[in-house]
């Protein structure tokens, strides 16, 4: 129904959002900015999921990544950096090897992708897959589904135990443990 150029435009919009967010995450000097840029990445990838007519996946992506993971990351950031350091710059190390790896890996991967999969063409919009996913989760994939639920319970307990317990202060004389007032 939607003609080709518009579809392409939508795709590039979503992909651009995701990649711009990714770049910002990777290059931002302010760590809070990079956390908020993660929102753009997640939203862009959700848009790409919707483009793949995986609408359930898109919604789950928004719900869990944006509503859960991102909020957790932001909480962790705000708990571990102090308000007076609002403009904390994001410390980096080894920028040169990082840049080399970035350029090499992205060039290699993109070359391989385009060479291998560049020929496939667009498919018409697919049927909604939500019901199919639900059926499969409770029939073919019921074992992983249950295992995941056990894992979630373990994670819940583990996270509470780790975060709630008090560690002993590292022994004096050790390198770390820089006490700040």
């Amino acid at each position: 129904m939607i003609p080709e150029p518009v579809r392409a435009l939508l795709f590039y919009l979503c992909a651009g959002l995701a990649l711009a967010g990714g770049c910002w995450v990777a290059f931002a000097r302010n760590i809070v900015h990079s956390a908020f840029a993660l929102l753009a990445t997640f939203a862009g990838v959700a848009g790409l999921y919707a483009f793949l007519s995986a609408d359930f996946l898109a919604v789950v992506q928004l719900m869990i990544y944006v509503g859960g993971v991102l909020v957790l990351i932001l909480f962790a950031l705000m708990l571990t950096s102090r308000i007076e350091e609002a403009r904390v710059s994001n410390p980096t190390i080894g920028l040169v090897p990082g840049a080399v790896v970035l350029i090499a890996v992205s060039a290699l991967l993109v070359y391989a992708c385009v060479k291998e999969f560049g020929g496939t063409t667009d498919l018409p919009p697919g049927e909604p897959t939500t019901a199919g996913i639900g059926d499969a989760l409770l029939s073919r994939y019921v074992l992983p589904f249950e295992v995941i639920s056990v894992l979630l319970l373990a994670v819940l307990l583990g996270a509470v135990t780790i975060a709630g317990g008090r560690l002993r202060k590292p022994a004096p004389g050790g390198k770390p443990g820089k006490e700040r007032p």
């Binding site: 518009v6 908020f36 909020v71 909480f75």
Partner: protein
């Protein structure tokens, strides 16, 4: 076929004299129609959020034995316009040490989260912007944008009060999303679909066809959802993020002018959205008693329009009634403490809502729909609902009468103030 395609096809046929199925520009016309629909929804939010603020202030005044705004326009109905213009004309301040991009972007993110919910709200029999097949999940997902927006505002303001407010608000939203999702899960179980229109279609026009009166667990789930929704909307008694006695005004303290207005706007719109979700998920939505949706779809011309308007009106009346309840709760209950807030969620609402899901599942397996037991259950629940309404009306009457006697003794005048003066 939803109303947007309907209108677009009509336009193509009548204006361009083309066949919508084969015409190459169908998508363009549809995009324009969608744009117009989005604008109408925006205007609806704007026009609704304003008067809701005025209604709330009048009701608040009356409950507190005050008068409330009654100067701008007859009975003050234009107060919201005056306030809006005032806010608009104010200076848009950015604190010197604020994180400028985050500070500037936050109100729009919050507003996007609120406004996005309107996409799937079923206003009428065919009136919905997009009948997504993951509608309910979409509603839950789009709300998470609000969380990020609030955190952004809290951090960007570079003020500890704003930061506290933002973090509190985010913690509250994330926590209360769990019971509200579980309560909506009960609805999804009964309806067998995630689509909002599908949920409405699975109910009926008469009260005994509504999901709230389907069985006792749904009855409880409605109240659980309503409580959780109030908390998600940061309304009293859960308005910890804006607790003015502790953190001056919460995440929006550093904002002024138009950006502050956006926050307020989102809050008022959110009241309406949660009332609308409760109305369509539990109270039958736009269903007209005595006429099936298929019959409406089969009508043509003005009759079709008439039925649409009626269904729309029914939905709006239900949602507005719930808005009124939310407002009254605000002026009834005191604010909770932070620990009480979290206890309410995790120790009471979450286990209870899980219990409701379990109960609905069991009843779904045991009581076949349309059977004798089902009928008895529905009848009993409708009776319970009527009893609640009746008892509360009698209690209101008794409270009023007792105080009326005292007032007459003390002042020598009648306490009665006709409610038609309300607005």
């Amino acid at each position: 076929m939803n109303i947007i395609q309907h209108v677009a096809n009509l336009l193509i046929r009548s204006v361009f004299h083309a066949d919508p199925a084969s015409w190459p520009w169908t998508w363009l016309v549809q995009a324009v129609v969608i744009g117009i629909a989005a604008f109408l929804a925006f205007a609806f939010v704007a026009i609704f959020a304003g008067p809701v603020s005025w209604i709330e202030r009048r009701i608040a005044g009356r409950i507190q034995s005050r008068i409330g705004p009654n100067r701008v326009g007859p009975q003050g109905v234009l107060q919201w316009l005056a306030d809006g213009v005032k806010c608009w004309l104010k200076e848009d301040l950015v604190p010197a040490a604020a994180d400028r991009p985050l500070f500037l972007a936050a109100p729009y993110l919050v507003f996007t989260g609120m406004f996005g919910a309107f996409v799937v709200l079923p206003f009428g029999a065919q009136v919905v912007a997009a009948d997504l097949n993951v509608g309910i999940l979409y509603l839950l997902a789009i709300t998470s944008l609000v969380v990020v927006g609030l955190l952004m505002a809290g951090w960007g303001s570079n003020s500890k009060w704003a930061l506290f407010g933002g973090v509190r608000s985010a913690a509250q939203l994330v926590s209360y999303e769990v019971p509200s999702a579980f309560s909506l899960l009960c609805v999804v179980l009964l309806a067998g679909t995630l689509s909002t229109q599908g949920i409405v279609a699975a109910q009926g026009g008469w009260p005994w066809d509504w999901f709230i009166f389907r069985n006792p667990f749904m009855f409880a789930a409605f109240f659980l959802y309503f409580t959780a929704a109030i908390a998600e909307g940061n309304r009293t008694p859960f308005d910890l993020p804006e607790a003015e006695s502790e953190i001056v005004a919460g995440y929006n303290i550093e904002y002024s002018g138009m950006r502050f207005l956006f926050f307020l706007f989102a809050e008022w719109a959110n009241i309406w959205i949660m009332a609308a979700i409760s109305a369509f998920a539990f109270l039958g939505g736009w269903q007209i008693p005595g006429i099936a949706p298929e019959q409406i779809a089969a009508t043509k011309g003005w009759e079709f329009v008439g039925w649409q308007a009626l269904s729309w009106t029914i939905f709006l009346v239900k949602a507005t009634f719930l808005v009124f309840v939310v407002i009254q709760i605000r002026w009834t209950l005191p604010r909770l403490r932070v620990d009480q807030l979290m206890i309410t969620c995790w120790k009471y609402l979450v286990p209870l809502s899980m219990l409701m899901v379990l109960g609905v599942l069991v009843l779904l397996a045991l009581v076949p729909e349309g059977g004798g037991a089902d009928t008895i259950l529905r009848g009993a629940m409708v009776g319970l609902g009527l009893a609640v309404v009746l008892v509360s009306a009698l209690r209101v009457r008794r409270t009023f009468r007792v105080d009326r006697e005292h007032y007459r003794e003390m002042e020598g005048r009648d306490l009665w103030y006709p409610p038609y003066r309300l607005p």
